[in-house]
């Protein structure tokens, strides 16, 4: 493949990736407009309600050992989880990229 073809292919895949990212963002944003009055509850309350509806006598036989004291603390823990994961992914991609750049540099 000539350099030009490689460049074109790279540009093309970049466009596709950008498009895919926009699609994901749309998938997140569109529901907010379609279901305008919804609560967007995050708790697992609905399933809980459904269970009590089906079997009103059911009593949960165990409760969580630790519960985040507030929504803020919970979101802190959730974002820490995401940050940890994103950090590892970023580290890995950076490592791959640096390695490739070094190798490409040596090749020239």
């Amino acid at each position: 493949m000539s350099n030009k073809a490689v460049d074109a292919a790279e540009k093309n895949s970049k466009m596709i990736n950008l498009l895919l990212i926009l699609l994901v963002i749309a998938l997140v944003v569109v529901p907010l407009f379609i279901a305008k009055d919804a609560e967007f509850g995050g708790a697992d309350g609905e399933a809980e309600e459904a269970i009590t509806e089906i079997n009103p006598d059911y009593v949960p036989w165990f409760s969580s050992l630790y519960e985040p004291p507030s929504g803020e603390i919970e979101s802190l823990l959730f974002s820490s989880q995401a940050a940890l994961g994103a950090g590892i992914i970023g580290y890995g991609l950076g490592y791959f990229r640096g390695r490739k750049a070094k190798r490409d540099g040596e090749g020239k």
Binding site: N17, A50, I54, Q81, G92
Partner: protein, 253 residues
């Protein structure tokens, strides 16, 4: 382009299904909300997959120590995605699982172990899911999800579908089937008085599966994206996993 046309079709169908209004929250089974008998059943069913997964991870690292970083990234991807509670057209939130990526790279049982770690973290620190329901939740998210993702990926490749399409469909369906499994688990434990298992099943499917459809599409796309990113720079590792050349997909045993 062939790929984007099929993606478009898939999206259109999804959006159509989504327009059925249903209010629901969807996630893992809550602590204490599964009778002890079922906790035991799902726990026992999950156990062999975790054991095989541990052995599989050991072997992968022993054979190719340089794959460690990719293994960590597979776990990290599940960590990120299961922390993102996304809004759905049903007016409630749920989160993707992120297990399809690792399952496609390393095989399904590896993700049984990594998924278990994610679920343990969430049940201990976040009161999300639970210890008593850990077996059931691991079964749906870390056994069924990865198996479906891997199976669909291999199937689409066999049918000569493109690699991206195989990854997209694998990850999206793995995500969706995870929550369908959750519905089956709850329906088995809580059959309705009238209508029994089927009636409960319909109810829980409405809560868990429908909300999940757009998130499954998101998960499919995000998995293609991370795969593209790794394919751009980390071809060596993917070659170790026999991902290249195109078409010659064949997993390390």
């Amino acid at each position: 382009m062939d790929l984007s046309k099929r993606v478009q079709l898939f999206l259109c169908i999804s959006v159509l299904v989504l327009l059925i209004p249903l209010k629901a929250d969807a996630m893992h089974i809550m602590e204490g909300f599964l009778p002890p008998m079922w906790c035991l059943v799902w726990g026992l069913l999950t156990l062999p997959f975790v054991v095989i997964g541990l052995k599989s991870i050991k072997r992968i690292i022993a054979e190719n120590p340089r794959l460690k970083i990719l293994l960590a990234m597979a776990g990290a991807f599940a960590f990120v995605l299961s922390a993102l509670k996304l809004p759905s057209v049903t007016g409630s939130c749920s989160h993707p699982t992120g297990v399809g990526f690792g399952a496609i790279l390393f095989g399904p049982t590896v993700m049984s172990v990594l998924g278990l770690i994610v679920l343990l973290f969430q049940s201990l620190l976040l009161a999300h899911g639970g210890l008593t329901t850990l077996g059931a939740n691991t079964f749906s998210m870390a056994v069924v999800g990865p198996l479906v993702a891997y199976g669909v990926f291999v199937l689409v490749r066999k049918m000569r579908g493109s690699q991206s399409m195989a990854i997209f469909l694998g990850a999206a369906l793995g995500d969706l089937l995870t929550y369908m499994t959750t519905s089956v688990q709850l329906a088995l434990a809580f059959p309705a008085e009238i209508g029994g298992f089927a009636a409960s099943m319909a109810k829980f499917m409405g809560i868990f599966a429908v909300t999940q459809i757009p998130l499954a599409v998101s998960e499919g796309i995000l998995t293609v994206l991370i795969f593209n990113a790794i394919a751009a720079y980390g071809k060596d590792e993917l070659k170790l996993l026999k991902f290249f050349p195109e078409g010659g997909m064949n997993h390390v045993k």
